[in-house]
Amino acid sequence: MTRHRWRRFLARLGPTLVILGSALFFIAPILSTLRQAMQAIVMPLLTWNNVFKKWNLDGIRLAFDEKAFWPTLRLSLKLAVVTVLCTLALLVPTALFVHLKMPKARAIVEFLTVLPYVIPPIALVAGVTATFRPHARWFINSDYSLVPFYMVLALPFTYRSIDAGIKAIDVRTLVDASRSLGAGWLTTMRRVLLPNLSSALISSSFLTATVVLGEYTISSSLAKQTFPVFSFEFYGRSARGGVSLALLTLLATTALLGLLTLLTRRRWRTRAVTF
């Protein structure tokens, strides 16, 4: 009995070590970021004796006091909202259409949605420089010109997540039932399809928002003052302030994820009750 247990312990030892080692690797940068943002002791002066001293929020206040903090954050949030809405407006009808009317085109559309993987963001920037800059300057000058390119960047995840949501419910039966009860397409969409797809829509929106809030390549190349561009520039002037911004971004992302988990779980439960 004890020998059996001992052998089981040995067999699990490797996997346990792998999990612990990975946890260390993934948590360590978060901890060191936390320290640098919140502890007012420079690294050469840090010793075992003062590890718990001088923890304060000055670094974060430093970031908040920057003139560019709020305008850049507002721009990034606005871009995130617009990108999410445009993505849903484009992809939900497309995915529904493919499922209901053109199942044959499914493979082609899926293939098209993974194409952005092949064009890296920096190449997209080169492409924009080659085409839009000389021929559509007015378009590139607007801050909102980033939206379609963000939609392209997020396309592989967003389409897959909406597509998976549609596959998980029986769209055809729902549509037929709703239509036979006399609902038009608008009512069917609003009262039947969207509520049933809500968790897929929420998770794809979350993915889109994180992509937009962290995107640096395109916005910096097109000289737009988004939040990541400001973070990068701020880090150059104040390492502590810049790291505090990184910490805030990290916390915001985690909070969004928590919210997402909560929302999708609740949606799922209410759906289980109504159906």
Partner: protein, 298 residues
């Protein structure tokens, strides 16, 4: 949203229309999506190819394309090296982590925690990630200090966060999670009964992996390697934040674009075309292998 409804309604036919006509009109429902891709994905790509394969007078020429390779072979090599190494390490460590998580029975929340964390970390990249690692393994980083105090100064032994091995360490933060995400379904596809069958036939653990487990996983592992390669090959923001003069293709493209006042330089477009070709090859391999691997998954 009105557009949305129109596209769905536009495809509606009530069975009275002849089959051929119904088919031809149905395509219209995809029009907004196709138009979007045409404008914001195809057009920029065509722009790159056009600039990469013409000279300043606008006539066809492959000299920019080949010159870029000869002039920038160092950054080609840098990008290839960092992508191959991080893809390989990512496959090994991510695969081990995914296997450990998939086979762990306790704690119950472990799997969903790792899966959702991987979802976030795989998409993280960017400047935030670079800053986080500056505080850990930078010259004044926490881990650097701890290791130095333990008696071994990594910066005295050729390690630097602005250099190759520093990039490798930082890239692992998104490569391992990506590997976990793509390999978990494949590991779930390994069935307990195969292991039992192998054991019944007298195979030990090593033989099981060599003759059953790894051959079944091989297409998935190779496919994941190609995906991770492409992922790291195209990473720009992280690399640029770590070192704005890095000898890596994306960083070089950026610096050409920034320093080009005349708008006549072909180099960034030629390099972008090279990148697209290399990534396209890797991704085609990935998609083919994924198809092959799905045979074992439900």
């Amino acid at each position: 949203m009105t557009v949305a409804i129109d596209t769905v309604a536009g495809g509606r036919t009530d069975g009275a229309a002849p089959a051929a006509r119904r088919w031809s009109w149905t395509w219209l429902g995809l029009l907004p999506f196709l138009a979007f891709l045409f404008l914001f994905l195809l057009l920029p790509t065509v722009g790159i190819v056009e600039k990469a394969f013409t000279d300043v007078h606008g006539s066809f020429s492959t000299s920019a394309f080949t010159d870029a390779f000869h002039g920038e072979w160092k950054s080609f090599w840098g990008s290839l090296k960092v992508s191959l190494i991080t893809a390989l390490l990512g496959v090994v460590f991510g695969g081990l982590l995914a296997y450990a998580v998939a086979t762990a029975r306790r704690p119950k929340w472990l799997r969903s925690l790792v899966a959702s964390f991987s979802g976030v970390a795989a998409n993280m990249g960017g400047v935030v990630l670079a800053f986080m690692f500056f505080t850990l393994v930078g010259r004044q980083g926490l881990a650097t200090k701890l290791v130095t105090e333990a008696g071994w100064d990594p910066y005295a032994h050729g390690f630097s966060i602005n250099d190759f091995w520093g990039w490798v360490v930082v890239y692992m933060y998104f490569q391992i999670p990506l590997m976990v995400l793509v390999i978990l379904p494949a590991i779930d596809g390994l069935q307990q009964s195969w292991r039992e069958a192998a054991a019944n036939l007298g195979a030990n653990s090593f033989t099981y992996w060599r003759r059953v487990g790894l051959p079944v996983l091989a297409p998935s592992l190779l496919g994941s390697f190609l995906l991770l390669f492409a992922n790291s090959f195209s990473a720009f923001a992280t690399a640029y934040a770590l070192n704005t003069t890095a000898q890596l293709l994306p960083v070089r493209i950026r610096s050409y674009l920034q320093n080009d006042v005349s708008g006549q330089t072909r180099a960034p477009f030629a390099l972008a075309a090279w990148m697209i070709i290399i990534i396209a090859v890797a991704m085609t391999g990935y998609l083919l292998l994924r198809k092959r691997a799905e045979r074992w998954q439900r």
